[in-house]
Symmetry: C2
Subunit: 331 residues, 2 copies
Amino acid sequence: MAVTIKDVAELAGVSTATVSRVINNEKGIKQVTRSRVLEAISKSGYRVNTIARSLKTRRSKTIGLITPEIANDFFMNIARGTEEHLEKSGYSLIICNTNESVNEEARRAELLIEKSVDGVIIIPSSNSGSHFKILTDAGIPVVFADRLTEDFEADSVVVDNQKGVYLAVSYLLARDCNNIAFIGGSSELSNARERYKGYLQALEEFNIRKDDSLVLIGDFHVDSGFKLMKKIMELQTPPEQVFIANDFMHMGAIKYLIANGYKPDNSPRIGSFDDLELSSILGYASVTVAQPVKEIGSKAAELLIKRIEGDRSKPYKTVQLQTDLKISRMR
Amino acid sequence: MAVTIKDVAELAGVSTATVSRVINNEKGIKQVTRSRVLEAISKSGYRVNTIARSLKTRRSKTIGLITPEIANDFFMNIARGTEEHLEKSGYSLIICNTNESVNEEARRAELLIEKSVDGVIIIPSSNSGSHFKILTDAGIPVVFADRLTEDFEADSVVVDNQKGVYLAVSYLLARDCNNIAFIGGSSELSNARERYKGYLQALEEFNIRKDDSLVLIGDFHVDSGFKLMKKIMELQTPPEQVFIANDFMHMGAIKYLIANGYKPDNSPRIGSFDDLELSSILGYASVTVAQPVKEIGSKAAELLIKRIEGDRSKPYKTVQLQTDLKISRMR
DNA sequence: TTGAAAGCGCTAACAA
DNA sequence: TTGTTAGCGCTTTCAA
């Protein structure tokens, strides 16, 4: 049986209330008493029982992260930002993997309520978020990260996807090229939609008619990048540039090119969203829209803690982080 | 204020004890009573408060994962395996990032005790594990994953590192080559040591004298792979093969080769531990020792749950998973 | 500046 | 088969 506040109280010859006060660093305690308690604590090897504390205070100092995938570099960089920030404020992180399933999202939300988490950060796996209402109904604040849903509003941290792509594509258009394919993601994802908008916006600005055969929609996974790049290379005249809307599809596309003997100088240049370790070194890259991934996570944590510890009634707040255009090289 | 077991009891016209029994699916309850309670539960929107339950039962149904890094593909694949397994058994996962710092490891262990986790899975960041003793002292079972420590014993799940490398290197030696460099990791890490042993074992078997200029030790990160590959290519006569002991250094090495214009046919072939998405496609790879990453995590979870729910006094158990040798192609 | 005591929501003897 | 009740370890009034 572990040592409790009661043991400490006896040892120090004070009441449990006093021990509690010392633990919580309250003031209005005589210095002598405090040090007597502190000594009893270290002598006895006392450790708070946060479960008991939570039951009383109704705060678990734990927050949940609902993510479509746990073994995913991008999401886990968000998680890292979150964890670091929370850590500083004394919160722990429960990670829930949903495998991109809405059902799982709902189940995990339920579970997190039962765990009495103080707040939840969600990277939604689709457009629908109404199943997260149970969280706010239970009084648990929610922050969306990276993506938004269409039917549920909350605080959120996203990147300016449209602008990022717009700047990249128009950079390319302003140079040699007016022939840019686009490999995008499902319209189920807000960020995929925004990125596509950025592409269209750039075309429009340069008075270029959208060519439907150059717009391909994948699912943000490696395989689909591979397949769609194949489609592009099988066009009668492949474009000079291909803009790919996320890193995994980018990876797949490069795999296709390499596997089929397309060297950087006899294949389209690749513009992309997200940094990809090897890509620029391989020599296919033209431009890259880099996003502040960790910051998405830390900012989300910041927003969430503000909600938890501060005013919950304020209007929802959306933080939009800016991307960074990196020029690799042109043809 | 959330609805409690008491509210449900009143609504159903039974005692709280009965409600508790229904919630916990105990038998020996009249069918009528059970359904009346169930109805009251769904009508009232009752949800268990696991905090209160934990305080009473002294089980939090939560386990901690202490990992050197959270945004790391390898570790998070372990985490994924763990999460999936735990999920099925009704446990949640608190993830703690230690940034490869022993101090942080100790801090996080402390924190996890306060959180009353039922068990902890640790991917240690070094040889020393004595600071984890506080966990077992507090009655919390521990399982090491991927690596072992020298001064603290516990259940563990590792891969047969030595054999994996031994098989790979001797495969190479049995073919054309007797000229294999080795890029390894710090002797602070048990897996790095084992892999090196495997290299030595293979050399010995083929009666090849170890050439110290061909053994380079890095830190398992990308940069060090880059630098060490550079060193190798600057040798008077670079070796025919280089075996690289982890995926990040492998990545770094390939980066170096590409950045410096070494094509697959004018550079050493690369044998490696861990699969690397692009490597075999790029054409540098000779052999790869693939490890069952997710399984490390799920097996660790399995062991841990057994300890938690079963006998704690049995001798420590080490599960050694086997690797898989993948032949890419020879020169 | 300190202590007594109630109670957070649940489970588990024990009694009926 | 069900109910009564004590209590898990803590915080927090309220009173002293």
